[in-house]
Structure formats: C-alpha cells, structure tokens
Amino acid sequence: MTAVMGVLTQAIHLALLLVAAPLVVGVVRWLKARMMGRVGASPLQPLRDFLKLLRKRPVLAENASWISRGAPYVGAAAALAAAALVPSFAHGMALAGLGDLIVIAGLLALGRVCMALAGLDVGTAFGGLGASREMSFAALAEPALLLAVMSFAILAGTTGLDAIAMTFQEGTLGLRVSLGLALVALLAVAVAENARIPVDNPATHLELTMVHEAMILEASGRHLALWDAAAAMRLTLWFALLAAIFFPFGTAAPGWAPLGWVVGLLAWIAKMGVLCLALAVFESAIAKMRVFRVPEFLGAALLLGLLGALLLFVSTSLA
C-alpha cells in the first residue's frame, strides 16, 4: 500500500514540476517587469516560447557532431531527474531512496557538463568562453554546496534529502547559526547555478560577460527549447530544495493523506511564490557584478559554509 502511495505521490510530484517549471520562470520575469514599471509578458510566456520553439527545425553548424544533438536530451533528463528527487508537497515519494544530496549535486554536474560540451562542440569563441567560465565558477560552487550538505548531514545524521527535510520539519533542532550560514552559502550557490544576477544575467545575449547563454548560443529549435526547459527545471529544483530544507512547514507525511496533500500543495505554492518574489526583488535591487568578482562571491559562500560546519562542531562538542 505504501509503495502504491509512493508511486502516486511521485507521479503527482512530477506532474506538478512540469506545470511549475515554466510558471516559475514566467512569474519571476513578470514580477521583475512590474517592479521596473513595465507591463511585462504574461507568466505563461515561457510555456508559449517552449511550444513555439518545439515546432521549429533546429539549425546546426556544419561541423556540429552528435554531441550537439544528444546533449540537450541528457541535460534535460538530468535536470528533471534531479528535480524528481526533491520533495515538494509530500514526503515518502517512491524515488525518495535515490534522493541523496550528493547524488543530486552529481546530477546537476552532469547537466552542466552536457551544456559545456555542447558549447564547445562547434568551436566558436563564445561557446568556449561560456563553458570555461561555467566550469570555473562551478569549481567553487560545488565545495560550497558540499559544506552546506555537511551541516545538514551532521544535524540530521544522513545525506538523504527526504530524511533531512523530515528531521527539519519536526523542529526539534531549534534555530542554529550554522543553518543560517549554510542558508547563505546555499543561496549564493543557487544564484550561480541558475545563472541569475549578480553572477550572470539571464536576460542578455549581447554582453561579453554572459556565461550560461554563451554556451547555448548555437542551439535552436527543439534543442534550444530543451535547454530552456532544463534551466527552468533547475530553477524550480533549487526553489524546491530551499523550501524543503529551510521552510519545511506543511509538507504532508508519507502515505495516503488527501487532506495533508492539499495543505502541502497550498503550502508549497505559497513557498514557491515567496521565493519567486524574493528572487525578483533581489535581482531588481542589485546590479550584475564583474566576472572577476564572481570567484570572490562564491569563495565567500564556500568560507561561510566552512564556518557553519565549524560552529556546528563546536555545538556538538558542547552538547
């Protein structure tokens, strides 16, 4: 019975993700536009773009190899697989056993490598530039992520995301400085992973500072649609991850609980809305930083993660 419920929860979760991903991107764009005094496109615009791009025949460079044709599928599958492992409205999904935080980080790295290889495939200057920068920034972001994971793992005794989220939901841990520091570190990593301001500007194609867009400059048609979908899925994933760990309120317990599911769903929508608003406010308030300030930004995140784990050692040795 629990297995059936797990599969059902997982299916609802996947459907929810597929609905949420374009909406999250659309809502953030719409909110930003409103804050800047523009009318802004409808929040459904990313979905329309996706459907339109799917109908176009891709144009590939003459020397593009099968990497260019295969990478979008692998990248999108990796993003979707990672997102499928992050709990949204209920715990106890069928795939929760797979959802280890380090594995999720590995799946994100898989998507990133796919994108970098696709950027390098044609051998144009922009693609190589973007790939080089993306991999360099990730070299600092990944250890920061791991140190945040370390704080969670010490507190919850595991790196399994579902178990961490459930432990935090019980609320017996209290407020911890380490968790605050891990939150800051994780936010910085999330900003870098999703190519948001101040690390990268998602709305530009004509800037020498671009990172993410530079890699997919050659993509078109269904390939571009898949890259955009993967980026949207990654943003949703990070929102869901932050919500699951730091705002674990209302998430339904494992098993059959229709009422709990409705509450969990509403809570999740509210959390995602708040995170969208926070991102939009943050991005409107600050400017993009110079590319060579980014390592400092991520390095600071890494050190804060280190500090968080350090203070946690102190608390555990005191307790």
Binding site: R55, V74, P295, F313
Partner: protein
C-alpha cells in the same frame, strides 16, 4: 594458483629475453615478429593475473610459500585479499595496455620490448610478496624497468632529463623503504609478513616507519610535494607504458602504503596516524587537479589528474587509519572501501584516458591541446570511449568515478564522529579541498575532451586523424565498458573487496553493499546507481519521445556564426584556429582564481622596445610549489656536496688510501659494537 602465477612470472622473464636474443641474430632472412610475441605474451600473462586475482577474491586467500625452493632467500609468495584486489587491477590494466601495444608498439626498440614484460613481472612480484625482502626486490625491479621505459625515447633532451629526474625519485624511494622494512622486521630479522604482523611496531619506531614509508611510497605514488617527476616522466614514456604506470604502478605504491601502514603496523596505532596521509592526500588532490587545468599537453594533463586521484585515494586510507584509531570500525570500513573502490575505478578509467590519448597521438601526431580539435569526426570510436573515461574522471553519475567519490565524501562527512576537535577541523578542511578538487577535475576533463575532440581541427593532421586498428579499439572499449559496469555495481564490487578490507581494517561491509548500491550510516544515506541510471534513461527516453512527436524531423545545416571574426584565409581549410577556444584561454579563469595563489601563476604582456616591429606577446607561466620547496633546496644541497667532494681530488695517494681503509675500520667497529649489545 601460486604455481600458475610463478609460471607466469617466469614466462614474462623469458619474454624479456626474446627481443634481446632476436637482436643478436644475424640481419637478413626472416625476422621473428618479436613485438607480436612479447605483447601477446604480456596479454596472456595479464589475463592470468586478472583471473587469479578474481579467483582469490572469490575463493579466499592462498597461504604463503616460497617462489623457488632452495634459492638464496626465502622469497615468499602469497595471495591474500589485498594482493588479489591489486593483482586483478594490474591484470586488467596490463591486458588493455598489451592490446594497445599489439597494434601500435610492435616496432618498438629492443630495450622497450625487453623492459615491458619485466615491468609487468616486477609489479606482480611486488603484489604477491609475502615478506619484506621480496617486496623490496619487486619494487626496485619495477622502478628500474620503468626507468628504462621512461628513457625509451632518449634522443630528445627533455626525455633524458625526465628519466634522470625519475631515477632520482626512484632512488629516494629505495633509500626510504629499505630501512623502513628493516625497522619493521621482527626480532631475529624475520621479515615475513606473518612475523611482522605478530609483533607490530610501537611508539617512536612506528613513527619513524610512518615517515619513511610516507616518503618512500609517496614519492612513487606521486604525492605532493614528491610529485615533481610525474608530469614530466609520464609524457616521456610510450603511451601503453604510461597507461600501465598510471593505472597500475602508482597503485602498487598505494599498495605499499596500505600494506605497510595499515596492515603490517597493526590496528593499534593512534588517531594521528591518519593525519599525514590526510594532509598529503588533500594537497595532492588540489594541486593535481588545479595543474590539470593549466597544462597544455594532453598526457601531462592526465598525469596531473593522476596526482589528484592518488590524493583522493590516500585521503581514504588516512581516514581509515584515523577511524580505526578512534574505534569507529564501521566508518573505517567505509573509508577503506572508498579507497579500494577508487583504486580500481581510477586504474581503469585512467588507463582508458592514457590509451585514448595515445591513439590521438598516433592519429593526429600531437598531444598538444592547441594542435588538435574536431577529432570526434575522424575518430568516433576513440571519442566515444574517451567520453566515458572523461565522464568517470569528472565524477559524473552513474559512472564509476562518482561511485567511489560518493563513498569518500560520505566518509569525510562522517569524520566529525572522531571526537577530537582538532581532527574535526582538519577533516572539515580536507572535505572542502576534496570537493574542490573533484569540481576542478570536472573542469579539467571538460577542457580535455572539448579541446581535443570537439570544435574544428586546428591543424591539417588533426583533420586527417583516424581510429586505430581493432585491437587498439578493443583496448579502449574494454576499460570503457568496465567503467560503466563498475559504476553501476559499486555494491557487488565492495562485497568483492571484502578480503582486502579485512586485511586493512579487520572490518566487513557486507551489510552495506547490496546488489543495487551502497548504503551508509543507519541506512538513510544511499547511492543506488542502477536506479539513477534507470531514472535518467526513462526520463531521457520520455523527453525524446515527447519532443519528437511535436517537432519536425531532422536538422538543417548552416555555417556557424563565428563571433564576428573575419573569414579565414584560403589556405586554412578548417577555419582559423585562433578564433577557437585555446588551451590557455579555457584555463584562464581558474588560473587566475586559484592558480595565482596556489601555483604562483603569472601572465604579463611583453612589449617590444619602441621602434621594434615585433608583436607584443603574453608571457604566462606557473611554478609548482614543490619546485621551490623540494627540488630547489635539493639541487642546492647537491651542488654543495659536489663542491665538497671536489676537494677529494687534491688528496695525495696516501690520503686516498686512507679513505677506504678508514671506512672499513669504522664498519668493523660498528659490527663489533652491535654484536656486543
């Protein structure tokens, strides 16, 4: 089983004699296909090694017995779990290397053909040794044979200096390991492992052994700061030898670390025993992976990546030491299991990468990243196999590199359970550095694959590259297949390593390793690679199907937009290489972020003097910290000693005779004193 192994060793020695004899035969007439015989024999021997290793892992250890009855020394051979694990790896790596050599190295000079089987035999002898003397014999033979192979191409000056540097480090290893074995010896000078294990060293004697073994085996494994020879010697050797050196020889050095420090020194050592291993491992991991991002020669890049991976393995061993000292048996098993699994996985994927790079060197006549490009068009098999190796080296799920690094990170995340606050802080730093080096390795591997196989050819030779013959392709596809397989089955592999783990930490991990994956902690943290792979496959197929239904089939082709550069001149048929990403350009961000503080990387624009029409040039370089910290002082010491020794020339005849006489008397006095005690 030991009989079969002894016969195989004898076969290898005979194979080494064949090319020498063949060279003595008069020219003219029908020449023996010497290369074919040697490499075919080596392939056979390697397969025997792999089969015996696997057999001993499945069937249990084999008790020690002498290699040849009535020889000058006991020369005990045995095959326990630890030896078998490494022997299996040696067999697999050796088979791939011999297959590659069958296609590409049959015309090698006699010295290479003679040294190659000896190298293989020496490594096997080291692994099979059951007493300290045999161990040293095998190890030194391995050093000498590999030195001959590094010096194979000695027409070029840089290869000669590489071989010289390699020899210096090999001698250093010997200088440290001989007294280490001497100190380990049980009372009465019994150096058999069983006797040593019965009376493990303690106190200051154990500390001296730790220091000597760390330096001796660490220099062979390429641990920072003793890694200076590695990025220089690997490219100098032929590709199939480099694969064997990186895949198997560094692992033999790690075997020495594991055998001497974890097994023979016994489980009663304190926590801090792990600390030197952790520190050197973390330093190797970071320096190696960072250098891999700035090197511009494919093989040097891979050599630096080997330094990184050996560092990760040694971190695992160090954690196992520390956990064992803190009586955390389960965690010690986890850390040692991570190290053993990474030894196997790295051995295979690095063999694949080096052989692939060798194939590239044959096909495109260069190893320099800036002279390759676009090889995926002409060498699809090599490219596909290399993609697997690159993915594993970049630790991407569900390949093998990720499985062992996942285990290692889990062990590091649990390191705080060792209650000592100082150790916790150290382990925290090591965890950050290990994660950093894993991410740096990902960047380096993307750089390697992207610049060599993707993009447009940068030279006409790269445009005309082709895949090698079938044996060489099999030599790439075999490790690629095993990399995928071991990535999917870390649980069964860990169960297979049971015997080795028993030797290292006296702890089993059977309950952690299931068919589907690996479980840590109280069961909540798990890595199930088959599930991840299935999830990726199902979702990928679903996406493909959904997209295909709504989208027009096929693609249109058109010229790439090249960032607004002017069209290339007529004679550059493959486009202008300078409009493509370059090796230096791709590494630039990391070089600037981390290379400046850690590698003293510098870049400046050299302007010609006014009036000189020469172009301004960017002068960039970096200095490995070990050069300034280790090599330069040693060179100064050598100069000082040789200056002193020069003074001996001025001695008179009587004084000259005094020197050996005095030495003799001093030695006799020493013996008299030792006997009197």
């Amino acid at each position: 089983m030991l009989t079969a192994l002894s016969l195989t060793l004898a076969l290898l020695v005979v194979l080494a004699v064949v090319p020498v004899l063949a060279a003595q035969m008069p020219a003219g007439g029908r020449r023996l296909p010497v290369g074919m015989i040697v490499h075919g024999g080596a392939l056979l021997a390697a397969l025997v090694f792999a089969a015996c290793g696997l057999g001993a892992l499945l069937g249990g250890p084999v008790a020690p017995r002498p290699l040849m009855p009535g020889s000058f020394a006991p020369l005990l051979l045995a095959l326990d779990g630890l030896s078998a694990w490494f022997l299996m790896l040696l067999g697999l790596v050796g088979a791939c290397s011999a297959l590659f050599a069958l296609s590409h190295a049959n015309q090698a000079p006699v010295r290479v053909l003679a040294a190659y089987p000896l190298f293989l035999a020496a490594m096997a002898l080291t692994l099979l040794a059951a007493d300290g003397f045999t161990l040293l014999l095998g190890f030194e033979a391995m050093s000498l044979a590999s030195w001959v192979l590094v010096a194979a191409d000695h027409d070029q000056g840089e290869n000669r200096s590489a071989a010289r540097l390699y020899l210096v480090f090999a001698i250093l290893s010997g200088i440290c390991l001989v007294p280490a074995i001497g100190l380990l010896a049980a009372p009465g000078g019994d150096v058999s492992f069983a006797a040593i294990r019965a009376m493990p060293p303690e106190g200051p004697r154990a500390a001296v052994i730790l220091l000597l073994v760390m330096v001796g085996a660490g220099a062979k494994a390429g641990l920072v700061p003793l890694h200076a020879w590695l990025p220089i010697a690997y490219p100098a050797a032929p590709s199939h030898v480099t694969a064997l050196m990186s895949g198997a020889m560094t692992k033999v050095a790690v075997y020495l670390l594991a055998r001497l420090l974890l097994d023979l020194c016994g489980p009663a050592q304190p926590i801090w025993w792990g600390v030197p291993l952790l520190v050197m491992g973390a330093a190797s991991a970071v320096i190696g992976s960072l250098r891999a991002n700035v090197e511009e020669d494919g093989k040097t890049l891979l050599a630096c990546s080997s330094v990184e991976n050996v560092g990760l393995i040694v971190i695992g061993l160090g954690l196992a030491c520390a956990f064992r000292g803190a009586d955390l048996g389960a965690l010690a098993g986890l850390a040692a299991g991570a190290a053993l699994l990474h030894i196997l996985n790295h051995g295979l994927f690095k063999t694949l990468l080096f052989l692939g790079m060798g194939e590239v060197q044959v096909g495109a006549a260069s190893r320099r990243l800036d002279r390759l490009g676009g090889l995926i068009q002409g060498m699809p098999w090599t490219a596909a196999a290399m993609l697997v190796g690159v993915g594993a080296a970049a630790s991407l799920p569900p390949l093998s590199g990720f499985a062992s690094e996942w285990l290692l990170l889990q062990a590091l995340l649990s390191a705080w359970r060792v209650g000592d606050l100082g150790f916790q802080v150290l382990a925290l730093g090591v965890a950050a550095l290990a994660a950093l080096s894993a991410a740096l390795a990902t960047a380096a591997m993307v750089r390697l694959f992207g610049l060599v196989f993707l993009g447009r050819p940068r030279t006409p030779r790269a445009a005309g590259a082709e895949d090698g013959p079938w044996p060489a392709r099999v030599a790439l596809l075999l490790p690629a297949g095993l990399t995928v397989l071991f990535g999917l089955l870390p649980g069964p592999m860990l169960a297979l390593a049971e015997g080795a783990l028993q030797r290292l930490v006296r702890q089993d991990v059977t309950e952690r390793a299931t068919l589907a994956g690996v479980v840590v902690g109280d069961g909540a943290g798990a890595y199930l690679p088959i599930g991840i792979a299935a999830l990726l496959a199902v979702l990928g197929a679903g996406i493909w199907y959904a997209v295909r239904r709504r989208t027009p089939a096929g693609v249109a082709r058109s010229p790439a937009w090249d960032g607004g550069f002017m069209a290339p001149p007529q004679h550059l048929v493959c486009g202008d290489p300078v409009t493509q990403p370059s090796a230096a350009g791709f590494g630039q961000p990391l070089r600037q972020i981390l290379g400046t503080p850690l590698l003293a990387a510098h870049a400046r624009v050299a302007m010609p003097p006014p009036g000189d029409p020469a172009p301004a040039r960017i002068e960039a370089g970096f200095a490995d910290p070990s050069d300034a910290l280790v090599l330069a002082p040693v060179a100064r010491l050598r100069d000082a000693i040789s200056a002193q020794v020069e003074r001996l020339r001025d001695l008179t005849l009587a004084q000259c005779l005094m020197l050996p006489f005095g030495t003799l008397v001093a030695l006799l006095a020493l013996i008299a004193w030792l006997e009197a005690r």
